[in-house]
């Protein structure tokens, strides 16, 4: 309960308005019966949404993005699960620097990652750019996030359960399959959802590494230059925003469920 309305609370309300205001204009104008994103609003229409289904390039880009995001999130979660186990359960020498190294994609500007991969793919390996090269780049940037989510989940429950399981004669695989994986499941699902969103929304790496085919953000970027395409762009953008928000809420709720963290600061 808020003790009393004060300046700080007022500030928090303004902060949330600032955070969400600009973004919420997109769905607002997408429902406006006009080709411009301007006030005053003219009237309610769903025309821009109906037109989207007829837009073949947009649908192709949507399909590409869905496929890439699914493949990427499965691959990065599959790689992150054993890595998270190794880093939280095995007391490896040098674990801290290894974790720092694996978190690097979070602080390196994505344009540098993009051009570095571009150089390797084109100049050193001589491969052609395609949706697969985009997917490879996305795995790299999703991995730190998947790893973080899984590690914090694995640290969240008592490792003595696993020791008990081992002492009672389970093989390491049985312990993992029957105990660790079910307990870590909220983290796994959350990792899958977040990996999906990151890949689905990622623009810079896809922009550099894609061949002739577009992902949805690359398609969207190419449309932003044309004022007459604005309503369709707004409708598509609104759907992406709503979709991402739903996935994030789902991921956070699942991740939090059943975790009674003693650490107040652990979010």
């Amino acid at each position: 309960m808020l003790r009393r309305p004060d300046l700080l609370t007022l500030y928090a309300i303004l902060f949330v308005l600032f955070l969400y205001g600009p973004v919420l204009l997109m769905p607002l104008f997408s429902l406006n019966d006009s080709t411009f994103a301007t006030f005053p609003l003219k009237g309610l229409t769903f025309r821009h949404y109906a037109d989207m289904a007829q837009n073949a390039p947009m649908m192709a880009a949507l399909r590409n993005s869905l496929v890439i995001a699914s493949v990427v999130t499965l691959a990065s979660t599959a790689l992150a699960i054993p890595a998270a186990l190794a880093l939280t359960r095995f007391r490896l020498p040098g674990a801290a620097p290894i974790v720092s190294f694996m978190m690097l994609p979070l602080v390196i500007p994505s344009i540098v990652i993009a051009v570095a991969l571009l150089v390797v793919i084109l100049k050193f390996l001589g491969l052609a750019l395609s949706l697969w090269t985009v997917a490879a780049g996305h795995v790299l940037i999703c991995l730190p996030f998947c790893l973080t989510v899984l590690m914090s989940r694995l640290e969240g429950f008592d490792p003595s359960l696993e020791e008990a399981s081992n002492d009672l004669g389970c093989t390491p695989w049985q312990t993992f399959r029957r105990l660790t994986l079910p307990l870590a499941m909220p983290g796994v699902i959350s990792s899958l959802l977040l990996g999906f969103i990151i890949s689905f929304d990622e623009f810079v790496i896809a922009f550099f590494l894609t061949g002739t085919e577009n992902t949805l953000p690359v398609y969207l970027f190419s449309q932003l230059r044309f004022p007459n395409k604005l309503p369709g762009t707004l409708a598509l953008g609104s759907l992406i925003l709503v979709g991402s928000a739903v996935l994030v809420i789902l991921a956070e709720v699942i991740r939090k469920r059943g975790v009674q963290s003693d650490n107040a600061g652990d979010i």
Binding site: T88, M102, K123, V139, F203, G265, I267
Partner: protein, 323 residues
Amino acid sequence: MTIAVTDPAGAPRRVARGDPSLRARRIAGFGLLSPALGLMVAMLALPIGALVLLSFWTQDGFAIDRTLTLANYARLVAWSDEATVWFGIPFHLAYPVPAILMIKSLVMSLVATVAVIALAFPMACFMAFRVTRHKALWIIVLTIPFWTSYLLRVFSWKIVLGFNGAINSGLIALGVIDKPLEFLLYNPSAVVLTLAHSWVAFAVLPIYVSLEKIDRSLLEAAADLGDSRWQRFRRIILPLAAPGTIAAALLVFIPTVGDYVTPALVGGPGGTMIGSLVQQLFLKQNDAPLGAAVSIAMMAIIALLVVIFLWAIGYGRMRERRR
């Protein structure tokens, strides 16, 4: 999210069991780690290495001359008697674009980072000291914007600030102005505003975590001993929140210097940053080696500035004190 490696409970017993089993466990552990780590080495460390190598080669028409040379870096700092004046600063460089864009990017990112911290700190205080129920809900409210499309969040500012945008059309509809204000979009201020908006939610969380960890009895003790609200803030909250705040500032500053999307969408010709130049050199001007040199120089300068900054404020000692 906190990133920490903790020792599993019961680890001492494992050590006591003797060396052979410990070694076997370590081998098993590295075995589990190797697919992810191998991928990171193959796709991050090696490509950055390749970028460094490329920066020592030169573009020769459509071919690449693989003789190792510092020519690209030399071009970035080549002296010219004729100065290019930018904001009253004379740049005596034959090819001044990268140097000017680098300084401009650093300044713009710095302004955006300061704005982000100034905006995020009170919000983090609100989260830590005012919100007692529905804390998870507030965290989700702050998390959603961070995860939703960066491209769309930036684009939304184009709708807000544009010539035919929400502010202009709204003010015209209200009769405040007659014709659209042109200074809103396509300039460095628009880029800084958009960058600050895009990253501000991301900065709240680390600051909030460090505030939340402050022992409340310290504040009570200070109040009992006669400290005013301001003194408590100045002498307890601010020093203890400093590590989280500095981490937040770096997490915003480092990636924004090289941002490409924001200047491309809301920057216009005057709002370009170093990332725009990298994109141009690679995709438009077909001079990948020079683009590689610019990228590497950019990362080196950022890293150097960060190290100097952390050293200057004594970040290491600050962290020690918290333990």
